[in-house]
């Protein structure tokens, strides 16, 4: 055999390519490849097309999260069957000695393993019974693949040593360590309960007294660790355990802890710690000391106060950038109930310069403890001297100022929309586009002008609304959302937009009704019997050719210490003078506990003697309807029945307190003049040039390309939960005609036959205007 073959033999290359990659017995060909670029090119293309080559390169390039991906070790996935049993857990369990007790998973040293508690970066935490002492323990077993790794063993041993050195009720107790075995393990106390993170997930923000109780205990545990010369370096809610039934907080996971003087542990580009709770010095990759833990503790307390981490961003890197450069959103903007002095403490903990933080965890513990006593017994125990200056003289004034400042920034509007099967945001079509200016004065007329000076500086309060003083403790119990709602309206401009699905004689006419909702807050009503402030809105319906005007008044009333809303609704024909003395009337009460106002047809209220009061004989009892305001500001109107033969129902959502920006409609005008409107974050509507809805889709997947609109078609009939199917609508760009659209599911086969692997991933470009 020649050492080199000079002729190019493609067949030979094909054979070679298919053989074992390590097999180099065809040395002449290999030698030929040294020099012949033509054959190399042939071989490469024969192996895979050029797209696959670049795909492979891109796909196999390690990403930031591959390394940190603990998903394959996830204990949480055990519910999903065998293929998911995390290999790391399985490996640990496989390494156990068999147990005599069939109910146990195995045995490790003198411990009978009864379950898996969780998985950490270094290994698996098992639940076990110490047979000698008959107590339940937690055993952290080092992952076998790490156990062969000297550095990892060292780190594991260090964790054990660090944690064992700290004896404190708020630090997880270490019972014993075995670092000599094939699989090193650490025996710790078993805490029945969950992590602080779990509680945050469950409850959101915590009450001040709870924040102080937890903060004080972490500070105590931290103080004990710091006294041993340790820095925990990974203080975060996941590492703080709350024991069930006992008010004890335990600091755990010293996996990253290290002695301050441990010189061998300088950074080498690895990031230790959870980015969200890192200190600025940690984020910068600098050496850290105890003050770093104080910053992290501050971030934890911030999270407990606000329900969210102080620094949020798309990537770990951006989070760290923010920790270094930015201040978090002030706590009281997110939760005005947190007292100023606590905000002061957290601000100090989160000082960028560590010199500005508390001198020690011990000092912090003493302070938080004193605060806790004060909060638990406000009359018997004063707030610590050092914090008293931070206490506002008028707690409420400050509170109002904060909210006022927030509200001042913007002009508000309310968008109402329906999220039925068809959802849309009503806007003027192109023909009406130019008339927007003309429409504006009309809108302003409807929105009741309010005293801007007042409303800008101060939000609406219950005492203002009800015209009387309310003791603070009752005030605290009153719900905020109706106030926010009204206040939002108070400052609103323009009209609300409300889409509806209309039924005629009980038959669904498909997409149909468009209504315009206008209204606002009035400081003074005379019309409805009790003079005073209140909220009104009116709806003209249908929009194109209004037939009816609905006017709804909402008046707050204080009964003892419970707020009720009296609602009065009126329906009148458009063009007829709207007066409370004719038309249909509804009356009802709104108890804040239910937040639903049920309006029932009644006789005309507040009719003056002598005036012929028209009884609501036309209105039947079934025309009762409900308005519900949800805690998140959503507004739902059910059972709306403006006439015997037509009905309107659906779920609407009101978004209050957000600055209103006129949507840029031109950006979404299709070639035929159709417009795509976003009806909510999740819903999109296609409206023709007359403002008539044509099609709707969920927003997760919507787009348009020339004469194709693609999106999810929502299937609601006959199933409990709406199901989305990806599909396309075709549109004739000349006539504007929309063909009904196509669900991709049944067409998958056809597409596949056309060589399209993955119909769901099609770009419209790939589909073309027709198959």
């Amino acid at each position: 055999m020649n050492a080199r073959t000079d002729h190019c033999d493609h067949k030979r290359i094909d054979v070679f390519l298919a053989s074992d990659p390590d097999d180099l017995r065809d040395a002449p060909l290999v030698a030929h490849l040294d020099v012949c670029s033509g054959c190399r090119d042939y071989m490469e293309l024969s192996a895979a097309d050029s797209q696959s080559w670049s795909e492979a390169a891109a796909c196999l390039l390690a990403s930031e999260f591959d390394r940190s991906s603990s998903i394959e070790y996830s204990a949480a996935s055990l519910d999903f069957g065998k293929p998911d049993v995390p290999t790391s857990i399985q490996n640990v369990l496989d390494s156990l000695a068999p147990s005599d007790d069939p109910h146990r998973l195995g045995r490790l040293g003198g411990y009978e393993i009864s379950g898996v508690i969780g998985v950490g970066g270094m290994g698996v935490v098992l639940k076990a019974v110490d047979t000698a002492l008959d107590r339940v323990v937690a055993i952290k077993v080092m992952a076998p693949h790490l156990a062969s790794h000297a550095t990892a063993r060292k780190r594991f041993a260090r964790e054990a040593k660090a944690a064992a050195a700290v004896l404190h009720p708020n630090v997880i107790p270490i019972h014993s360590v075995s670092s000599e075995d094939a699989t090193p393990y650490l025996v710790m106390g078993y805490i029945r309960g969950g992590s602080l993170q779990k509680r945050l997930d469950r409850e959101g923000t915590l009450a001040t007294v709870e924040i102080l109780r937890i903060g004080s205990q972490i500070a105590a545990g931290l103080s004990a660790a710091h006294e041993q010369g340790l820095v925990h370096r990974d203080i975060k809610p996941e590492n703080i355990l709350l024991e069930d039934g006992v008010e004890r907080v335990t600091l755990t996971d010293f996996g990253l802890a290290r002695a301050v003087d441990d010189a061998s542990l300088t950074q080498h580009g690895t990031i230790a710690g959870t980015p969200q709770y890192m200190s600025p010095e940690q984020a910068r990759g600098e050496a850290v000391d105890q003050a770093s833990d104080l910053f992290s503790l501050g971030s934890v307390l911030y999270t407990l106060c606000t329900g969210r981490v102080p620094f949020r961003a798309e990537s770990s890197h951006s989070v760290m950038r923010k920790i270094i450069d930015e201040s978090p959103t002030p706590i009281r903007e997110l939760n005005p109930e947190i007292p100023n002095w606590l905000v002061g403490i957290i601000d100090r903990l989160m000082a960028k310069d560590k010199k500005d933080r508390f001198p020690s965890a011990k000092e912090l513990h003493t302070l938080l403890d004193a605060c806790l006593s004060h909060v638990q017994q406000p009359t018997a125990v004063d707030l610590p001297e050092s914090l008293r200056s931070a206490q506002p003289t008028k707690h409420r004034t400050l509170f109002l100022a904060t909210i006022g400042g927030l509200l001042m920034t913007a002009v508000f509007t309310l968008l109402l929309w329906l999220t039925g099967a068809l959802t849309f945001l009503v806007q003027d079509g192109p023909a009406q586009q130019q008339s927007n200016e003309r429409a504006a004065p009309q809108q302003e007329k409807v929105v009741e002008p309010i005293d801007e000076g007042d409303s800008k500086s101060e939000p609406l309060t219950w005492p203002v609304l009800l015209g009387r003083d309310i003791p603070q403790e009752h005030l605290d119990r009153l719900p905020k959302e109706p106030l926010v709602l009204i206040d939002g309206l108070n400052k609103s401009r323009g009209s609300w937009l409300f889409g509806g699905n209309m039924k005629t004689d009980d038959k669904d006419s498909g997409f149909d009704a468009i209504m315009e909702v206008k209204g606002g807050f009035k400081t003074h009503f005379e019309e409805v019997g009790r003079p005073g402030p209140g909220w009104t809105f009116s709806i003209q319906w249908p929009r194109e050719k209004p037939e009816y005007t609905w006017t709804i008044f909402l008046l707050p009333m204080m009964e003892k210490y419970e707020v009720q809303w009296r609602g009065v609704a009126q329906i009148s024909r458009v063009g007829e003078e709207a007066s409370l003395l004719d038309g249909h009337y509804f009356d009802g009460h709104w108890y804040f506990a239910s937040r639903t106002l049920t309006l029932t047809p009644v006789a005309v209220p507040g009719a003056e003697p002598g005036t012929s009061t028209k009884p609501a004989e036309k209105a039947n009892a079934e025309s009762q309807f409900q308005i519900t305001v949800k805690p998140n500001g959503e507004l739902e109107i059910n059972g709306f029945e403006p006439a015997e033969t037509k009905s309107l129902s659906g779920k609407s959502a009101a978004r209050i307190g957000e600055p209103y920006v006129e949507p840029d409609l031109n950006r979404l005008t299709l070639p035929n003049g159709y417009k795509v409107f976003f009806a909510s974050r999740l819903q999109v509507m296609l409206v023709d040039s007359k403002g008539r809805g044509v099609a709707g889709a969920r927003l997760e997947k919507i787009g348009c390309h020339k004469d194709i609109i693609y999106g999810f078609i929502t299937q609601r009939e006959g199933i409990d939960e709406p199901e989305d199917t990806l599909g396309y609508f075709w549109m004739n760009s000349a006539t504007g005609e929309i063909t009904k659209g196509m669900e991709l599911g049944p067409w998958s086969k056809t597409l596949r036959a056309m060589g399209v692997d993955d119909p769901l991933m099609l770009n419209p470009e790939q589909v073309g205007s027709k198959f």
């Binding site: 990659p21 996830s74 949480a76 969200q276 927003l699 199901e723």
Partner: protein, 199 residues
Amino acid sequence: MTDFPQTRSSLIAQVRSPEDREAWDKFVVMYRPVIYRMARRRGMQDADAQDLVQTVLMRVAGAIQSWEKSGPETRFRHWLRRVARNAIATAFSRQPKDAGVGGSEMLEWLGEQSATAADIERELSQESMREKYLRAASVVKLDVDSDTWRAFELTVVNGQPCDEVADLLGKSMGTVYAARSRIMRRLREQVQRLQESGP
């Protein structure tokens, strides 16, 4: 210790056909890391990302019943993929609960929302592809000498010039070219296999 305590979700246990069960298992194995990585890329912490993975999978699992009722016109794994994609898109396009419809962001939102949805779809497709390649690589890697693999990795993935890599590994240029093409071919085969059998 062959029987690790498994509590198959009762919902999953309702998937009667063994073929569909297998499809479900494959689906979970494939999609879990995909969803996890997408979550991490959005700044979620490990635990949050894992929770999100569970939420999505539970959602999909919860929908299985409705599929079984709907009858066998659609193949299970295609149905599964569609539902999963919806669930993932929903999970990632859902904004944090404290954010309303951003007023001042309305414009941005109008302009970007469709792009975002398309981005998620694209990202999901990319991540699924990545997962297939990663799996394929882990299989192929085990079958070949470490130098053969390195020749592929360094030149294709890290983009180093072939002559440099040949020097580094002490191999001839022809050997490096041979290695990377043959591995590429095997990778393609594996990826294709995963595409055909996978979810």
